[in-house]
Symmetry: D4
Subunit: 249 residues, 8 copies
């Protein structure tokens, strides 16, 4: 609501085309629209079908169930991350088409099937088979947000030829997610080979001095390749959310 | 060089349209093109005018000078980061149009003036006046890479109205760089207000338990806003390089 | 017991109004009263009804039960923190009116119902639904210490309009407790919007690089807003105890 | 500006008592008043004479000088923290009555001499003589914010009788700042002896495993005494700002 | 075996009082006696009855049982630390007089009842009731090593009068063990009140930013009181072993 | 495939000794041979019998079983590390001769019995009995890679004579693996006594401030003995793999 | 002042042998005598000649000078640690016999020459020549506190024979200080060879991952030898103070 | 000196072929030969020409000069690491042929020119130009220890084609040293491409979250490639010493 909108509204009140009480209702919300509710509105208009995302960690099964019950009254896709199998069982009782990814620990309810970005895709590249749960969380997130996804798994730098054999599909993406634990070197190597935005996800996979993902995190932050930015350890969801914004620019 | 290219080349050799020695020259480079030199070639074709970036830390004035002397024989813009004033004095003796940004500690030699992305821009938002050197490094980098830049400085969350007054210009950007030290909260707040990719740069500004930027770094990695990815502490260059890739998609 | 008290006592001995043995009993405790028991006496006089607080972690059910049995002989409210459900079952067998808050993990036995501070209140603001157990521990503590409490939950900075909509109730408090995990930015944002003492509680909620609450802790310590002080990670009790002292000044 | 205010304004427009353009001016600012500028207004009304505080670290002498030049046009006290002697020399050229505390590294320009809180005071207690610069920063801040201050120095726990001899003056304060490096035990000991809000400031004073103040910081956060909250390492300013809010409640 | 011993031995060989083969046996062992076995010999002579200590963590029940079976053939007291109840059950089947301390998690088999140091004793002082398992491990160790022990528990600095009331018994000890978690301030306070060697044991007791005992550890290392040395976190055994050496000097 | 090879190939095409399609097949693979697949080929030729190593952590029993089923079709030894007993049970159903080391948590399937390096051996020295699982992982790895192994266990520096008694067998090795937790001093002591490459493995064995192996890790990295290099915490496999390369030089 | 003393005093008041005002004076001081000042009195009587120790870090030359001027009026030895050469020059102007140890950075003024403990001595053992400044600080402290000292330097574990050659003199001490940087292994090795209390001082000497002494500190805390306790990094003074208490038991 | 040697010696004493005093001299040293001096003897016999290495950090110019003066009386090469230019100037006055490497900060005095290992060589590979000082320290060390060296610089993974172009020379080495800062990914990539022992040296080169080399250190320790072991941060000397032992096996 800009200066012109306000002038029009006031003119209508003056011309008695608009009741004072009706104008109050509109103007009273004005601050919030400038700051916050306006953001949500934009979201509704711009990201049609954008799912409300539920972070399940620390929620009870009952809490999750009632949140989803409410969401089902809307038209959007639904994504729940870090969901347990038990949570899924509860959700299924209120929504038969809910789907569970046990590796990625996601519950998804997809109402619109067609990807928003058929022409471009997000590549999700991972270093080892142990990173799979993060890859799956990222993939489920990206898909539910309306993106096409290509997964390239187990191409860690210890056998770099495996990576090189897949460079075509990686270079073809609009944005690349790199998932790696241990020393996280994969992000730097891909960063040196492609000219696309790279979102690196350190994982907590590894022996002792991995320190819960710290080694991969510091590696990726210190990447000598310039096009790499980083999200939190094991945060497949965050990487995919970022990638989706870029892919849909 | 794909299968078809190889067939054509071999056919020419067979038809004696191409000398064996000439074919050797082409094929001998083949592996590297698949892996590495091809990358550089693509760079030449796609990012015309992309400057070679020189990281000055740990280099002598003489080393820097000879690198730039060589680069001046090419057509590209030149960017040197973390450059001292003394380095700049040396560079000026071989290139009068070199420009120095003492806050950002960059030397730039700009051969092509027109931004590549006149229609879209990168917003660089900073929390406090002390973050200025990182902002300047980011801005110089973004500009030399061919982007239009808008700087919004000193809008830290302790006086959030200052930030809100600038939301229009931030929301108008294609990609947003957020520079903040101390608790780095600015990234999360902006992340909750705009729907653009946000690249957060933690800075080493702050009192004791800032631990050289660690507090802002962890804050940004743990941002509750989903569209935030992070680069290294004080790495204005890296943030701008990332932003440039996205801005030029 | 001040100079005047001592003079009176001695005068009574001199006047044989007081037996030597009786005076011994009183004076023998004198040192402790100046240092320690005196503190307790002041407590009795000033904070009437102040509960003795029991930190249950590391105690057996039997130990807890016998401590509470002893306390029930006094007039004060009783608060036990970090109590398990099993502990509560045991306490109920000796005190039917004991109340358990399963989220906050507190047992409370409230003998006096009326808040000491009806006119002012403590606002407890939290960033996300996952911080709820810390909020509940803080709320139970504040109430048992005789304060009125207002809880404002799930107003994290990623959707800042939710927070802004609640500013009236936050600004109305005499002291504000801010509970937040992840990047803990909420403390800084509120610190910039209200002019009341803010006690920040970092929580251990979050993904990998949260490092058990370290990210929120460092954030809050480095807050760019000046009115913020910090207690230990997940220490809802400590925050409420602090807030209570201030609220009852 | 509440519902009633808006109704009155609209009524005036309807009654043609107010021009549309004048109403636009008022309503256009509405959001900011609800959020941010209103905060500043409240500040002006409530904390009359509250100095604008300048954090000098990372600012040039010229920047500082021009900020103060501007501030001198207002009626408020001025405080600059982390100021060098060189900065002070520059400030003196534009304001002869500026005062420099070389230990606390503060520049203060005091326009109103009378403390706002003559009846109550802030006690600043420090463990050792090496903590003096933090004590001085805190004291200068508290005074310029209009508080009476009592300093009790060098009463570290290694000679606890020194502390006990000063308990009267500490107990008499409305709020207590405890400044301590090394193991920071002073905060806990005082926390066990007084029933006032205690704001602890860890300092970076100490041998090797002090790790720049980390030992005192962790100590204070883990204080077994319940009334202790903590600010950043060496942050005398922040502690005093907090104490001032509480002292002036 | 010193120069004189060797001369005597050689003289005996020369005088044919000693067979060459017998001399070989003695001299062949010489190196080890100088380095290692000599140490064991000294142990046998000096610390008669010194128990062989078994650290149970990482050992199987069977391993422990067979080690103790072997030890029972000797005359010494036996101490097993970090022992589970299950281990104790197994040990009881081979040694009925074995005693288990479930708090300290020690198994002890005491063959000689009389303390070696009846005249002097070790004081074990602890801050809170949660430190009890470390206190018990220390006490069991000290007793089995032949020391008299006095335990003073729950005298943390938050209620310093409790500590002061017990100073006589603490001052009477020849060496003092201080066990404290959280901020570990007790070590410094006692260090300032007694003139005996103090061995501080940080414990892993506490809320979040205790970081597994790190806060108490750093506190104690940075103690402003000069007579404090520190052992590992929760290492009640090590503290008692140290104290025993000093007590028996 | 070098310059000469390419010339010969092209000459054959020119002379029509080689079909164009056949030449395509060879040249098309050229890049990969230079980089990656060639590496694998070299491996096959050079390290005949080198087992494919499977890191079981994070894999399901089914995944492991199908990987081993595939491997059994080849001639090589097989090693699976970090394998659970349950995994072993599953593997036994498809390969009766599979062997499980419950301490080292390895599954091995050895097809060729004779060690490749009968003349030289790897010494694996450990400080305490608690390090045994790492020793066993290292030993199983070294043996399956074709090395002779000598284990010297429980020779920690607290009883250095035990170590000195075994120096002959340690000095006789071609390469020495030192496994130690706690303070990891054993690596330095051996490093000062032998003139062979020493690979140190820190273990996560120890009390509190061991911090999951950090103490031993830092110790070993800071060894004052010059011939020591370090692998990850608890990484017996990595140490043995390294040692095997050196032993087979 | 015990129960009997109080009874006597009261009896005198009752018998009018003592004025009420005089009794007030005595009783009013009672608390402090029980707690703190009494401690100082004991100190004066027991540790006659104990020097007041001045920690110079963070003090000005003038402050130091006036402290020493005051101390010179007493009979005690004087020790100032972490003193600069400039400080020494200033002290010399008021006390010609002051002595400076430039390696240990101590100023000492010794009034009584004879060691208190001629019959026993403290051994100070160091690993490398770079640890010399800590050794010197410890030695000066021990001597000024009245102990005989033996220094054994440069016997690090990388050449363990150097250490073994000196075991006699180490074993002869009543208490042993071990000073070591890098991996700090020396403490464990000596701990395994002698049966005396060992006080370990980690030093900040070393390459990168020494992290300012952290590696040696953690090593020593995790020592597998049981008789080792630890003081702060580079804290030669603290080690010697501890050793002196033990040596003079 | 084995059993046979001792028997012969004793027989000679018995036969009076050897004086008792002469036998004492030999036997008195026996222990040390078994433990320590024997090591030195082996060194003399086996590593002829091995330089005594002097670590200059923390030594005075005078100390260094007198150490070298002594060493010049022997036949060995001399290496001083971490030497300043000023130290070199002093050394030149006593040994004209001393050579200084200002990047590697080494002083070398080479008496024997011919490499001991002409047939094999050590490859030293570095990621960036900023790692050069570590490379030079490693190279000087390896050469003075008698090895042939090949340096391959600036082949970081961000431009992996540069590395691939140099694989022949890297694969040709007997042992490979990899020097890298930032994320240290180079070690893993080379580890996946060659089948030689790789010694990784993390360097302290990099932006903020490099934390003095911690990022590269953790990366290398967590390398997914199996043949990588690690030395301390910036420890070029240690890496070369290790490599030399392996190269000369």
């Amino acid at each position: 609501m800009n200066k012109v909108d306000i002038r029009n509204l006031l003119q209508k009140v003056k011309n008695e085309e608009l009741e004072v009480e009706a104008a109050i209702d509109i103007l009273e919300d004005l601050p919030y629209k400038e700051l916050g509710f306006a953001k949500i509105d934009n979201h509704r208009e711009i990201r049609v079908g954008c799912p409300e995302v539920i972070y399940c960690e620390g929620k009870t099964v009952e809490q999750l169930k009632s949140i989803i019950q409410y969401m089902l009254t809307k038209e959007n896709n639904i994504l729940a991350t870090r969901a347990s199998e038990e949570m899924y069982e509860a959700v299924k009782t209120i929504c038969a088409e809910a789907r569970y990814n046990p590796l990625g620990r996601t519950i998804t309810i997809q109402k619109r099937e067609d990807p928003l970005t058929a022409s471009s895709y997000i590549a999700i590249v991972s270093a080892g088979t142990s990173d799979i749960s993060v890859v799956e969380e990222a993939a489920e997130t990206a898909i539910i947000l309306g993106n096409r996804v290509e997964k390239i798994m187990d191409v860690g730098v210890a056998g770099i030829h495996r990576l090189l054999a897949k460079m075509d599909i990686i270079r073809g993406a609009k944005v690349v997610i790199v998932v790696a634990g241990m020393e996280g070197a994969l992000a730097s190597v891909i960063g040196g080979l492609v000219d696309k935005p790279i979102i690196a996800v350190p994982t907590s996979v590894g022996y002792g001095a991995n320190f819960g993902g710290l080694s991969a995190l510091l590696s990726m932050l210190n990447s000598c390749a310039s096009g790499v930015s980083v999200v939190n350890i094991d945060n497949g969801f965050g990487a995919a959310y970022n990638a989706s914004i870029i892919n849909q620019l």
